[in-house]
Subunit: 311 residues, 2 copies
C-alpha cells in the first residue's frame, strides 16, 4: 500500500475500518486477517458471518488480531404492519442487540425497512391495493413505535440503535428513512447513547441540507458511525450493489469528511461497499485498496480539524 | 375509457393533461389528437416536437383541438462552470422562454442539470479529479446565479421558470435540485410569477418533508404544475426510463394529490412517463390509459377539497 500523496510516512489507519460487507465472500477470520494485514484499526461485522463462528468466538478473533469492532450490521426492518411480523422483527432485533454486546461494540446499525412487501407489488397494474400498503407516512410511524419498543432493551445491554438513512432510491423496498434530519427527528425522544445515527456517504451525499444535518447530529451527540463508499454510474442491475471504492465516483469525500470532523466525530470510518466486482476480488487486495483510498481521500480531511481548529 | 369507480357519469378530465414525453414517438399533431380523443383538457409540450412544426403552428394545432398547453418542457442544464458552456446554456434558455410564450403557456419546466459532465467520470478510478467537479454545493450555487440571469428575461415574456426537483437518484448526472424545499429556497429571491416549482410524484414521493413542503409551496404561490407517474421496481437498465403508469407502483397518489389540492393548486395535472414499454404502445391507447388512471387514482383526491372544505 502506498502512502498518501504528499506525505513521507505511512498514513495513520487507526480509525480506518473494513466493513465486512465489502469482502462479502470472506469468512469472519478471513475478513479480520485482511483488515489487520492492511494496517487498519477496526472492522465492522455482519451478523451472518458472526453467527457462523458464534459471537463470543468472533469477539476473540477480532481482539487477537489487535482490532476493534466498529459496529455490528444490522438490525431493523421495522415497518411490518401485522402482529406476527412485528413480533418476529422485535425478536430478531433483541437477538441483534445481544450479539452486538457480545462481539464488543455498542453500535448496532439499523436499516429500518421499506413499504410492506407484497408479492408482485410495484411491478404492474394492481388497482385493488391493500389499504395502507403505499402509506409511507404510516410506515415511518411504525418505525418510531418499534424504536420505542427496542430502546429499553438496547439501553439495558449498553448498545446503541444506530439509524441509517438510506438513499431515496431505496425508500420503496428497503428503507423509508431517507435523510439524516429524519433520522435525528426519529432519535429525538431517546437518549443519545441509546439511539444514534450513521452518516453513510452513499446514502446522503446528495442532500442539500447535509452540512447542517451533520452539524446538528454532532451537537446532539448522535453520530455513531461514518461509512464511506462512492456513487458510481451507471447503476448496477441490482442498484443495491452499485457502490464503488472511495474515489471512483461522484462523492466529494474531502468536503463531507470535513463536515463530519467539524461535528466532533472521533470514531471509526468504515468502508462499506456492495459491488459484485469488489466482492469477486481477493479480500486482502480489497482491504489494501480500501486503506489506500482512505488515506488519499478521507484521512486528510478527517484530521484537518486538529490542524486548523479555528476553521 | 371506463368511468371512475363508484361514479355513474364520465369523469371530469378538464385538468387532465398528457405530457408529450409519455408518447415520445408521436409527432406533435399525433400527440394532440391522442389527448383530445381521450377527452383531456390540456397537453404538456416538449421543445423538440414543437420545433419540428414551429412554435406558432404548434400553438394553432393545440388550440384547434380544443386543448390548453399546460407547460413546455424544458429549459435548464444550468450547472456548467466554464464561460462558453454558461453562455450556451443562457442562449438556449432564452430561446426556450420565447418558445413557451409563443406556444401559449407561461410554465417553462426547468431541469437544472447535474455535476459537470466529464468523460468517463464516475465510472472508475480517477484520482486526479478536476478541482470542483464533485462539488455539488458549488453546482447548486451556479444554478442560483443562472436563475438570476434568466429571471428578467422570463418576466419580460410573461413566462415562469418552473423548477423541477428531481429524485436524488439523478443528482450526479441530471439534477442537483433534489427536494421541493430546496427548489423553494432557490425561488425565494424572485417573484412567485417568475420562478415557480413543479411537484412531480416520481421525484418527490419519498420526501419525509413532502407534506409541509407542498403546503409551503402553496402558501408562497409557487406551485406551477403537478406531474404524476409511478415509482415501479425493478429499475429499468436506464433508470431515467423506469417510470410507470399511475397505479402500477409504490406512489400513494390519493395522499399526495390531497396535499396538492389542499395547497390551493387549481391547475392541470400532467402525466409524464418515461418508459420504453409505454413508448412502444399506441399513443391513442396510452392516452386512454392515462385518462383512466387519472380518473381512478388522482381525480377523487384532487376534488376532495371542494367536497370537504373544512378538512
Amino acid at each position: 500500500m502506498s502512502a498518501a500523496p504528499g506525505t513521507g510516512s505511512a498514513p495513520d489507519l487507526s480509525r480506518c475500518s473494513l466493513n465486512q460487507a465489502t469482502v462479502k465472500h470472506a469468512t469472519l477470520p478471513e475478513a479480520v486477517a485482511a483488515a489487520a494485514a492492511a494496517g487498519m484499526g477496526a472492522i465492522g461485522l455482519w451478523r451472518d458471518r458472526v453467527q457462523e463462528v458464534g459471537a463470543e468466538k468472533a469477539a476473540r478473533i477480532v481482539a487477537e488480531a489487535g482490532l476493534r469492532v466498529s459496529s455490528l450490521c444490522r438490525g431493523g426492518f421495522l415497518t411490518a404492519a401485522d402482529d406476527a411480523a412485528v413480533a418476529a422483527a422485535l425478536d430478531d432485533n433483541r437477538r441483534a442487540i445481544e450479539e452486538a454486546a457480545t462481539v464488543g461494540t455498542r453500535e448496532l446499525v439499523i436499516v429500518v425497512g421499506g413499504l410492506p412487501a407484497i408479492s408482485g407489488f410495484g411491478q404492474g397494474p394492481r388497482p385493488d391495493a391493500v389499504p395502507g400498503d403505499r402509506d409511507v407516512v404510516a410506515a415511518r410511524a411504525r418505525v418510531a413505535d418499534r424504536l420505542a419498543d427496542l430502546a429499553p432493551v438496547a439501553a439495558e445491554h449498553g448498545v446503541r440503535l444506530v439509524l441509517e438513512p438510506m438513499h431515496p432510491l431505496f425508500a420503496a423496498d428497503r428503507g423509508v428513512l431517507s435523510t439524516l434530519d429524519q433520522a435525528l427527528d426519529l432519535a429525538q425522544p431517546f437518549p443519545a447513547d441509546v439511539v444514534g445515527v450513521v452518516v453513510d456517504t452513499y446514502h446522503v451525499w446528495w442532500d442539500p441540507e447535509l452540512r447542517e444535518a451533520i452539524a446538528r447530529a454532532g451537537q446532539e451527540g448522535r453520530i455513531a458511525g461514518y461509512q464511506v463508499c462512492d456513487w458510481v454510474l451507471p447503476l448496477a442491475a441490482d442498484p443495491l450493489h452499485s457502490r464503488g471504492h472511495v474515489g471512483d465516483g461522484y462523492v466529494d469525500f474531502p468536503t463531507i469528511t470535513r463536515w463530519v470532523a467539524e461535528s466532533g466525530y472521533a470514531g471509526d470510518v468504515e468502508t462499506e461497499i456492495f459491488h459484485e466486482g469488489v466482492w469477486a476480488a481477493d479480500p486482502a487486495g480489497t482491504a489494501r485498496t480500501v486503506a489506500d483510498r482512505y488515506a488519499r481521500h478521507v484521512l486528510p480531511a478527517l484530521t484537518a480539524r486538529a490542524a486548523a481548529p479555528g476553521r
